[in-house]
């Protein structure tokens, strides 16, 4: 039988080759100091009527980088996304299913029924985008002028005998816009 030391050396060399091959995907999110936040992004947050503790994040990925401000107010989670120059991209607010209007609910359920035999809505976010002033006006005064509203749902369903999660986006009337399967992060170090 192979000596344990020789076996260890063999396994380390074999796995090192795998490491080199695996380093192609790139996605990273990390905390950002307030001093590193672009002035116009900071000014947008400062203009909000609710002043909560804001956590800033920088996100790097294959499609582009962005800056996110995350905070919670009145038990509601907000995520406000800017480009790296501090220009507003969108505002995401976590909501509950009853917060969605009945007509939009009906449209969404009709789509899900038609496409998935089994489904469960795990999470809903409403997205608002548009000119910075319009979105700010909406957040502070709840006036919905000149902004685009979308619903982003995280839906659990089955695909080829396997449970999967989809991110499904609908417009403000509940019309389907896009579907993307969510790739799970590796949990081997928690399972074994």
């Amino acid at each position: 039988m192979m000596n344990p030391k020789n076996l260890t050396t063999f396994v380390i060399i074999f796995l090192s080759l795998n490491v080199i091959q695996a380093q192609t995907k790139f996605e990273k999110e990390y905390r950002l100091k307030n001093s590193s936040v672009p002035a116009n992004a900071q000014a947008f947050i400062d203009s909000l009527h609710f002043q909560e503790k804001v956590k800033w994040y920088f996100e790097e990925n294959n499609t582009g980088n962005s800056i996110e401000a995350k905070f919670k107010t009145h038990k509601t989670k907000y995520s406000i996304e800017f480009d790296v120059d501090g220009k507003l991209q969108d505002v995401e607010i976590e909501i509950k299913w009853p917060d969605v209007s009945k007509s939009v609910q009906d449209q969404i359920i009709t789509f899900l029924d038609a496409n998935y035999g089994f489904f469960k809505i795990e999470k809903i976010q409403v997205q608002h985008s548009g000119a910075s002033d319009s979105v700010l006006h909406f957040l502070n005064d709840k006036k919905t002028q000149d902004i685009t509203t979308r619903y982003e749902l995280i839906v659990k369903t089955r695909l080829i005998r396997k449970v999967v999660l989809f991110e499904i986006v609908f417009d403000e009337k509940g019309q389907h816009l896009s579907t993307a399967q969510i790739q799970f992060k590796n949990i081997d170090n928690l399972e074994y």
Binding site: K28, E29, Y30, K162, L190
Partner: protein, 229 residues
């Protein structure tokens, strides 16, 4: 999760370890492990783990430790798992242990639930195993392990980032009609090279035989390398 909170947890764990058995035997050693996982599709995966035990010191708290640097054993573990839900998996496997010329066989069954929250992940693992060793009665164990993984930067662990992983496990054992309980406390620091490649290291404290006898403690320096093919 800030680094300060993680360091606080380490100090808390260390104080628990020191106070738990001030007058009893202990051993100190290295516990390196390589864990390779290969998904097979349709929720199936196979896992191979190789773990080596190397003792370095032993003694009791009233005398100076004696250096006993020697190789103890090697474990080869093969597990097949099937996802049975979004966060749940059911696994079964076999452990082959080599200690000198003695060969130990263990069959393993386990159920794991991993829940993701906004800023951490929590895993519950319930497992049973049956150990068969020559000239020893069979040992049957029921285990529960709770593990928390906390990113040290941002809200999730991403490539190129550090994380903390803290495990607490309770192992109920029955051998020849005698019950024993082992408790493990394992605060580790991890680094994610890629989503499929992680390295973790830190203390692994185990205490057993404390219900009716003098407690037996083992302090391992654990180094775990996780690779997904």
């Amino acid at each position: 999760m800030s680094t300060k909170i993680f360091l606080g947890l380490i100090i808390f764990c260390a104080s628990f370890i020191q106070n738990s058995d001030a007058q009893n035997d202990y051993r100190v050693g290295l516990l390196p492990a390589i864990n390779v996982n290969k998904p097979l599709g349709r929720g199936w995966a196979v896992n191979f783990k190789y773990e080596l035990r190397q003792f370095a010191l032993q003694g009791d708290y009233s005398t100076s430790p004696v250096s006993t640097f020697k190789y103890d054993l090697s474990d080869f573990i093969f597990i097949a798992s099937k996802k049975v839900g979004l966060n749940n998996s059911l696994s079964g496997g076999y452990l082959f242990r080599l200690r000198g010329t003695t060969v130990v066989h263990r069959t393993i069954q386990q159920f794991t639930i991993v829940n993701s929250y906004n800023a951490f992940r929590l895993a519950h693992r319930i497992s049973t195993d049956q150990t068969f060793e020559p000239r020893e009665p069979a040992e049957f164990r029921l285990r529960y392990r709770l593990t928390a993984e906390l990113p040290l930067n941002g809200e999730s662990v991403d490539p190129g980032e550090w994380y903390a992983k803290i495990s607490n496990e309770y192992l109920n054992s029955m051998q020849d009609g005698i019950y024993d309980l082992e408790i493990r406390l394992i605060p580790l620091l991890g680094y994610q090279f890629t989503d499929n490649n992680k390295l973790e290291f830190g203390p692994d404290y185990r205490i057993s035989s404390f219900l009716e006898n003098a407690p037996r403690s083992v302090y391992w320096l654990s180094v775990n390398w996780f690779v997904k093919l």
